[in-house]
């Protein structure tokens, strides 16, 4: 017994070395001589979630991936803050009838692997992205181009009958033409989208590698992607575009939560945030001072009507006046100020701020809070069926609070019973929308694809449009949209859409709620931080202090 092997408790020595890593604001002292001086090769960091998908031009639709892609790729054109076009890789984009477009490229551009950017780089890339075999999420962007239906038949399981779209023709090294099936006056604006970026010849040999290590033609070249940790891109010195980077590169740092990113911003571990967590919104302006960002961007939150639901369809189609009444029963000013902490701005129409054709009061008064009028309208329209509505939302997205507030507002103003219909997460919410299970109303949102008002009307309310998930359909409106689309010039088209927006009041396809704002911040190390219309920071303009 005495010699029995005693159980040894090897107590692993815990080194309680709360390492005093210098973090007590080490930088704040700083050398006085370097104050304000800009380091043209300085590298800064941006908070970013892990991109959901490989970094492909045809498949990057969410903001995490697009932020990186915007640095790696340059498209033919870009748009300025007023919605007008700026030539980037294109020398000119011209058309006489909005149907046949001619693109001339700037000479001397190269991809990051040194190969030249030619008209073929664009045409091949578009054909590849459009082909249904490659299952790219953004392929429908090419639907305007003649021959799209051959490379991307609509029906499930159908095989493409052509490899290339007949509307795309290479004229010479720096010129190509695009023929559309019908006139699209704002097609030039669509070309700013990432899906229209060119791809180098090396891409087609191994598209999978292209999604992990993209080779682009943009102001930055790809350096590394450490999944769920960081993505690094560095300045491309041979870049020929007007938006040359004023810094040496960007490190996109991955954070599990926005709260964590905000803490790191305060302790100087990350330089640029894209968003502030709801928890920190009430304090971030005091915390950051003039480094706090509060600016609108082109996105809108709406409540959409599920027109296929029995409530709105039987026994007869709902009178738009009822929906008008519901809209006027919502006290947007108070809800945005209190529940949403001033992070949204009450909407006055269906088109978001910052896009071509935005007009004040596009909703023609239908978003004004007026309980008496609201009651009147609902009564005039025959009342809300069953006098009860519900608003479907996804509970994982922080929407519950404002949905409850909107419901309260409606209930108090009109005596219509209103409840929130929470789905556990976004997936379940989407499935309910797709399978037409929404019972009454649902929350919906739209961020611009291209800065023209058509994007907020045609792509949402046209019969069968991709964003039209509530089955709204009206022949008159379809005809008006078709007419606006066939206008001879962009200007005329925009004007026609402005008229349609003013008129939407009589159809009420959805209830506009508020415009989104960028609520973000940046560190003391950087300056020149600006945010684009899509809400993402503009990387090239950021200057890093020494």
């Amino acid at each position: 017994m005495r010699g029995a092997k005693s159980a040894k408790w090897v107590t692993g020595a815990i080194i309680v070395a709360l390492a005093a890593t210098a973090c007590g604001g080490g930088k704040s002292g700083g050398g006085s001589d370097a104050k304000g001086a800009v380091d043209p090769n300085g590298i800064f960091s941006v908070e970013l979630g892990e991109p959901e998908k490989p970094l492909l031009t045809g498949d990057t639709m969410e903001s995490n991936g697009s932020a990186v892609m915007a640095g790696l790729f340059s498209t033919l054109v870009d748009y300025k803050a007023d919605g007008s076009l700026e030539m980037i890789n294109a020398e000119s984009v011209t058309t006489t009838d909005s149907k046949k477009w001619t693109v001339k490229l700037k000479a001397g551009w190269t991809f990051h692997d040194g190969t030249p950017v030619t008209s073929k780089s664009f045409v091949d890339a578009w054909n590849w992205n459009a082909n249904v075999k490659n299952a790219q999420g953004l392929s429908s962007w090419f639907a305007d181009i003649k021959g799209f239906d051959k490379v991307h038949p609509e029906a499930e399981g159908a095989k493409p009958t052509a490899e290339t779209m007949e509307g795309l023709k290479v004229v010479d090294e720096t010129t190509f033409t695009i023929e559309l099936t019908k006139a699209v006056p704002y097609f030039g604006h669509k070309l700013a989208y990432i899906v229209f970026a060119p791809l180098p010849a090396s891409f087609y040999k191994d598209p999978e590698a292209g999604g992990q290590k993209p080779v682009g033609n943009g102001p930055y070249k790809f350096k590394s992607w450490d999944h769920k940790k960081k993505i690094e891109i560095t300045r491309y010195d041979d870049y020929k575009g007007p938006n040359k980077a004023k810094n040496g590169g960007v490190v996109f740092k991955n954070y599990t939560t926005l709260e964590a990113a905000y803490e790191d911003l305060k302790s100087g571990n990350v330089d640029v945030l894209r968003q502030i967590a709801p928890k920190d919104l009430p304090v971030y302006r005091q915390d950051l001072g003039d480094r706090a960002v509060d600016q609108p961007y082109s996105a809108i939150q709406t409540i959409a009507v599920a027109f296929y639901a029995d409530q709105w369809k039987k026994p007869k189609a709902i009178d738009p006046r009822v929906v008008q009444g519901l809209s006027m029963a919502i006290d947007r000013a108070t809800i945005t100020k209190t529940v949403l902490n001033g992070t949204r701005e009450p909407a006055t129409g269906w088109v978001a701020k910052g896009v071509l054709g935005f007009q004040e009061d596009g909703g023609a008064g239908v978003t004004k809070f007026d309980p008496a009028k609201a009651k009147e309208l609902i009564k005039a329209g025959g009342g809300v069926p069953n006098n009860k509505i519900s608003i479907q939302y996804n509970a994982d997205g922080g929407h519950k609070e404002w949905v409850d507030a909107v419901c309260n507002s409606i209930q108090q103003a009109t005596d219509v019973q209103c409840v929130g219909d929470g789905k556990p997460d976004f997936q379940a919410d989407l499935t309910a929308r797709k399978t037409k299970q929404v019972k009454s109303l649902y929350r919906s949102g739209w961020v611009l694809d291209y800065p023209v008002n058509a994007n907020f009307i045609s792509d949402l309310f046209r019969t069968g449009a991709g964003g039209n998930q509530g089955d709204f359909s009206n022949k008159d409106l379809d005809a008006k949209i078709a007419k606006a689309d066939s206008a001879a010039t962009l200007d005329e088209s925009v004007k026609a859409y402005q008229a349609i927006e003013k008129d939407l009041k009589n159809y009420m396809p959805s209830i506009p709620l508020w415009y989104y704002k960028v609520n973000a911040g940046f560190s003391e190390k950087v300056s020149g931080v600006a945010y684009g219309q899509d809400g993402d920071p503009i990387l090239t303009g950021v200057e890093v202090k020494k």
């Binding site: 790219q136 999420g137 609509e154 999604g211």
Partner: protein, 310 residues
Amino acid sequence: MGRYVARRLLQMIPVFLGTTLLIFLMVYSLPGDPVAGMFGDKGADPATLAKIRHDLGLDLPLWQQYWNYMTDIILHFDFGTQIRNGRPITDVLGEAFPVTLQLAALAFAFELVFGIGLGIIAGLKAGRLADNAILIFTLLIISIPVFVLGFIIKMVFAFELGWIEPNVSNDQLVSEMIAPAIVLGGLSLAYVARLTRTSMAENLRADYMRTAVAKGLPRRRVIGVHLMRNSMIPVVTFLGTDIGALMGGAVVTERIFNIKGVGGLIAESITRREGSTLVGLVTILVIIYLVTSLLIDLLYAVLDPRIRYA
């Protein structure tokens, strides 16, 4: 002993198959389509959706999907690819597990040393001041929710004192892991301390203790060998199952401290309906549970020779 181990290992096979099948069924019965979810508000045409589904084999009947999945795992050690980004799941798991393993090991060491240490002090001084102090301390820890404890630690040590960085950086240094490990191990530490204390206080009055003392053995040997060995069985049982819990249950802690480990991956896989990732994760967790519980059972024989295996 050898036969016992072999039998236990064989038992793992049905458990392994059963749990993976259950998880597989559960994930696929959740409402929400992972492929449609990739497109959000803007939607996609049916042709693209069908093509993606076909490429991923999601258009096959469920039993066939499960069969393909399991044969790939067993024959090729291939856990499939993620629906959204097409990355091999072995890569995804290979990144997440070492991080969580490191965190769990630190937390485990912390609860082992301090939990048993406090338990021994409390057990030997049962009913006296030290015992009461430890009682209050452990009750306090048990009653504070993990996220509150996490925020308190961050608040005090990161923001007020500035001793640590508030978040674990992407390099995942060991020094950064200490604070989250303390938070993660805190709850179990309290349980370990209470278990040890009760077990020791009870055994202090046992016959063999009286004998050992009467034999004139030195106090260190009486406590260190005779008392400790017999008192450790319930504690070891708890510690064993706790390893599994630490590996899988770190969802909250990992979120608070920005750690990219298994916890976050589980949460993400559920919200994105990444069925195969989730099954892969659970499969590995099941294996960890099975192995640790086997080790614990074997350890019983070492601790108490009266427990023998056929």
